[in-house]
């Protein structure tokens, strides 16, 4: 068979969003690949230039439908850096806990998505079932289930409701039991392992050169986690460790994410212990930002997210630049896909945790 280009997307079950992966195949073997993005471009960075600083928070929520909290959080961190606002201690803990809950929710959605990618619907429904619990926690915390609009410049919108901590502990206990179930279903299943082990290994050097961050980078054996290397909020006070695997293949990326979910549970438990029982949760930020720049980066579920704000002395940002982790990870996909089979495309791409909202912006 002659070589041919296949469009996987923009409307395709593999894409998890609106993008196009063009692959050149020779029979079943991929010889080249080319991701095409831009189908979901909304002009986000331009849009926010016409919004007041507090108005950008709900906009940042909409950057990623899977992990909206981390995006509004990183925006608030950048704006606080620009305005020089100090966040109260309790608000920091609430933010970090929400971050980790969001990370679990986002990873659960990734776990749900790789199920159909690999051809198994059971894991999809199991993961979505548990994600529901974390959505419920967020709902009782801030009233919304998907786009929370919860962090504020200088704190969070409201304190945790009564009984929230009790529900949280119960959910975490239940979730840890369920994690064992997932590992029974996936790790101890030889067909799952057959599909993932030794697939698309990415060496540490390649991963660094291509700018891959997050679980995909740690799956390649690079010890880099913004929470650890450049701690924000209270991460340096907590007792936790990075989840790293050396193999660099798809299974390693899978394992890193699964380990991170357990680690997030541990972080939330520790936060519950160390959190000040009462205190202010919010300080009032200035309405206008000074002339200058503010930058914040944090560990998104998909990698390192960064926001860079230039303030011009008015109540609107002059420029807001977003560094989206998956946008960079996507550029590594041709390297990973080459010489593998067409059937591996969903498992390789799905394991990177696709999110198009933040990629196209």
């Amino acid at each position: 068979m002659a070589k041919m280009w296949i469009n996987m997307g923009p409307q395709h079950p593999m894409t998890h969003g609106l993008w196009n992966l063009r692959v050149e195949v020779d029979g079943e073997t991929i010889t080249d690949a080319e991701p095409v993005i831009g189908y979901l471009h909304r002009g986000w960075e331009k849009m926010v230039e016409d919004r007041h600083y507090p108005q950008i928070i709900p906009m940042a929520d909409r950057l990623c439908y899977g992990s909206s909290f981390t995006w509004s959080h990183v925006y608030c961190l950048a704006a606080e850096d620009l305005m020089g606002v100090e966040v109260p201690e309790r608000a920091k803990y609430i933010r970090v806990m929400s971050d980790e809950l969001q990370r679990i929710g986002s990873h659960l959605m990734w776990l749900a998505a790789i199920g159909p990618d690999l051809g198994n619907l059971t894991i999809f429904l199991y993961a979505m079932r548990e994600r529901e619990l974390f959505m419920d926690l967020f709902q009782s915390l801030c009233g919304a289930r998907m786009t929370y609009n919860f962090p504020r410049i200088g704190g969070v919108r409201n304190d945790a409701p009564p009984n929230w901590e009790r529900d949280l502990v119960r959910t975490l206990d239940y979730f840890e039991k369920r994690m064992d179930e997932y590992e029974d279903l996936v790790d101890r299943n030889s067909v799952f392992r057959m599909r993932m082990v030794d697939l698309a290994p990415l060496s540490a050097k390649d991963a660094i050169n291509l700018g891959v961050t997050g679980p995909s980078l740690r799956g390649s054996g690079v010890k880099y986690d913004v929470r650890h290397n450049d701690p924000y909020e209270i991460y340096d006070e907590l007792d936790w460790h990075m989840c790293v695997r050396d193999e660099g293949d798809v299974y390693a990326r899978y394992r890193v994410r699964m380990d991170e979910m357990r680690m997030s549970v541990q972080i939330v438990r520790e936060c519950l212990k160390k959190m000040p029982k009462s205190g202010p949760i919010r300080v009032k930020p200035p309405r206008t930002a000074p002339v200058g720049t503010g930058m914040a980066r944090m560990e998104d579920p998909r990698g390192e997210s960064l926001m860079y704000i230039i303030g011009d002395g008015t109540d609107k940002p002059f420029r807001l630049k977003v560094r989206s982790p998956f946008f960079v990870t996507l550029s590594a996909s041709p390297v990973m896909l080459r010489s593998y089979k067409v059937a591996d495309v969903p498992s390789i791409m799905g394991m990177l945790d696709v999110c198009m909202g933040e990629t196209d912006r």
Partner: protein, 362 residues
Amino acid sequence: MYLDLWQLLAGLVHWLMVDIIGPIFGWLSFHGIEGWLTRPETLYFITVILVVLIVFVVGMLVSITLIWQERKMLGRFMDRRGTQTGPIGLFQNFADALKTLQKEIIVPANADKLIYNAAPVIIIGTSLFLMATIPYSEGFYASDSDLSLILTFAIFSIVPFGVLLGGWASNNKYTLIGGMRAAAQLISYEIPMLLSVVSVVILAGSLSLNDIVWYQQAHIWLFIPLIIGFIVFLIAMVAEVERIPFDLPEAEAELVEGWGTEYGGLRFGLIMMSEYARGFIGSALATLLFLGGWDGPFKGIVPDGLWFLAKVFIVFGIFIWMRAALPRVRTDQILAIGWKKLLPLAVVNIFIAILFKTAGWF
């Protein structure tokens, strides 16, 4: 205890034609028609048509029930309730059929029209034709040929041809890859499947499905001595009926709907139904060849056909369980499993069968 379909319908037709309709025509003095209607050849012809119709309808009803069983069982495996349309979800299939009926039939502009239209006919026709060779009980069958086993597998292996043609004629890259995969996969799994069947034939000494079941009734259910062959047969059958974990030809994650991407509306509905018909035939063959067919305890009280159907549902339940627990395997892996694992196992199984036969144990 069984229902002799042929005897019953022959008696029914004889009574209807010779005793009621024939005399009416005679009374109206149409003696030519009366003479023609009461001829034994005519009676036999009408009986054959009725038998075929009944066996076909029963086969289709069982296939539809298998779809329902899959929806409900898969739902339970996935911690949900499955379909709820109608009482315990029984109406879902009919609703689906009505929906596919209403859809417009679209033929791709650049498709090879003749072959594109012929491929579903080949697939659906051969799948439904298989109903004719399956006996449900000692007296409930459409045909009892001495070579019914050979006939069944001969028809069974036409489908990859239709899949390849349909995938190629659709003029779409996904369907082309899906069709090629189907051809590679089905051809490579035919061999271990047939080899595991050969061991059954060696022990039973017959190529007739009825004879094989009678042999098992007299001696032993063949999955006990031929457990390796049974497992090989089940795995190869999953690949033959294109179910997860071997549903590569229609791998929906990467190939949208595989070779069937361009088939919509009623064609899609019928192709999907014929897949379940093939699933029914596959479970029925596993039942007949290895699990003793309609043999079972309480033979005087429980009708034979019920034992047969119960075993079919159990075997199909194993298929559903596989679907709930396993992901899809890859193209090279599926061929490696077929040629490097199942084929040697099937050959070993034949040696075991020959050993038992020469030793005269079974």
